[in-house]
């Protein structure tokens, strides 16, 4: 492996995305990656992927959340490395440990509590009425609460909440 992984939780990282070991740093993925091409911090040599993969604490990097999960890197990689899959593993760790952006946490909560990621605005409500569209308010949303309980998400959210309250005290 040519990538130097300094990340302390290296083994946990590799467990979730073993394919990253096959990366030979050819840079093909970077040619199609929107984050490498347009993200402020990167050029085609210093790519988004190397940055995340070689960072000491990748889950702490807010850049992790800029990935569009567009899979272009996955489609072009000659080594079948699946970067978005590894990023996903890192994002999950970031989320569990309270290092995901607040916007992500509130999106997750909004989906679980209302069944919608985006709240209905008054303008949209008026427009829906004007266009004679049927109402939109997902039914049986408490199903999602049951799901969150069974997957362990509810517990993760409780821990995050407790952590945040402690930090504020």
């Amino acid at each position: 492996m040519l990538l130097s992984i300094k990340f302390q939780a290296r083994n946990r990282f590799l467990e979730r995305g073993k394919a990253v070991e096959k990366c030979f740093k050819c840079g093909t993925c970077a040619l199609m990656c929107p984050v490498t091409r347009y993200g402020e911090d990167y050029n085609l040599r210093e790519t988004f992927m190397y940055d995340i993969f070689s960072s000491e604490e990748p889950p702490a990097k807010q850049n992790l959340w800029s990935c569009s999960v567009c899979y272009k890197c996955y489609e072009v990689c000659p080594q079948d490395v699946n970067p978005p899959k590894v990023f996903k593993a890192l994002k999950e760790i970031a989320f569990e440990t309270g290092r995901a952006p607040l916007s992500v946490v509130s999106l997750v909560k909004s989906v679980i509590h209302t069944g919608m990621a985006f709240p209905m605005s008054d303008a949209s409500r008026r427009m829906r009425a004007q266009l004679n569209l049927p109402s939109f308010a997902p039914k049986d949303v408490d199903d999602l609460g049951k799901i969150a309980k069974n997957t362990g998400l509810e517990k993760k959210l409780d821990i995050l909440k407790a952590k945040r309250t402690n930090e504020h005290e």
């Binding site: 929107p34 567009c70 272009k72 994002k91 946490v105 069944g115 605005s121 427009m127 199903d143 362990g152």
Partner: protein, 298 residues
């Protein structure tokens, strides 16, 4: 008309909550093509394949599975209007059909909700439904007023094409299906270089507005360079990037042109004889006289 397929109508949440006019256009156009829409009030957000999936994949999968179950219980396939929705639904359906152990685990998670994943239906984006049920050749018969002289830059978007083995719609690196669908309407798809480049939604979601505008500038200029009069998308997130994002980008980079953005169902509607107003063009931010004059009917 030989096709008459009923589908569970998966509206997602960005469209009903922010762009209801696309829901209106879908309800106007799709049934005329024989794609009948059944509303299921229990459908929730898909959930999204970028942020929610990143935060908690198991819950993401369970929410998608529950949505699929609702259509299974009606014994009909799902049709949706958004690349994010189809990416989530198709991926979940694929994984849960393929991996029995994952399905068992999922059904234990779903047990309290009374739903169980059986793996009996298919999930489709409306472009897939049009290709599968009608096909390019038969679509031609719906064209009343060919869109002669209109040059269109298509943006298929990433999440409808990748991963290719799951979505099975088009080549993610060189997409051409949407071009064929535009060409059959009499319009001319332009073969611009940056066609496969992502719309940059990841930047907007993560608040990186500078990067988002920079990407959009390159992509818009490239479309223009190849002569485009407008952009066609098939996803509300891509739409938001190109429409709302174009306003910001134009101001920042002082672009001297405008490229109105229309959903494929709108441009299909124009070819079927609907007016700009009827296809809710007024709800869009970016408007352009040149584009409008090409759609004026004499």
């Amino acid at each position: 008309m030989s096709t008459n397929n009923r589908y569970a109508f998966f509206r997602g949440c960005l469209i009903p909550a922010r762009y209801p006019h696309f829901e209106y256009v879908a309800r106007t156009i799709l049934p005329q093509l024989g794609i009948q829409l059944l509303d299921i009030d229990e459908f929730t957000c898909c959930a999204d394949p970028i942020q929610f999936r990143g935060a908690d994949e198991l819950t993401w999968l369970a929410i998608a599975a529950r949505n699929i179950c609702l259509a299974e219980e009606e014994d009909i396939n799902i049709v949706c209007l958004c690349n994010g929705c189809i990416n989530t639904l198709a991926t979940a359906n694929y994984l849960l059909k393929k991996e029995p152990r994952l399905r068992d685990r999922m059904n234990r998670i779903l047990a309290d909700t009374g739903h169980q994943f059986e793996g009996t239906i298919e999930t489709k984006h409306y472009l897939q439904a049009i290709m599968d049920d009608i096909g390019i050749e038969r679509l031609r018969s719906y064209v009343k007023i060919p869109l002669d002289g209109l040059k269109v830059a298509t943006h298929t978007g990433c999440h409808l094409t990748s991963p290719q083995d799951i979505l099975r719609f088009d080549d993610p690196l060189d997409p051409s299906v949407l071009d064929s669908l535009v060409a059959v309407l009499g319009a001319e798809p332009v073969d611009y270089d940056l066609k496969a480049l992502c719309c940059g939604v990841g930047f907007s979601l993560s608040g990186q507005t500078v990067a988002s505008s920079h990407l959009l500038k390159d992509k818009l200029e490239n479309m223009r360079q190849f002569g485009a009069d407008c952009i066609t998308v098939a996803c509300p997130f891509c739409f938001q990037q190109f429409d709302l994002g174009q306003q910001t980008t134009s101001r920042k980079y002082e672009l001297d042109f405008k490229l109105p953005v229309v959903d494929y169902l709108q441009i299909l509607g124009f070819a079927m004889g609907y007016t700009l107003e009827e296809m809710q063009y007024d709800s869009h931010r970016v408007k352009d006289k040149n584009f409008e004059s090409k759609l004026k009917r004499g």
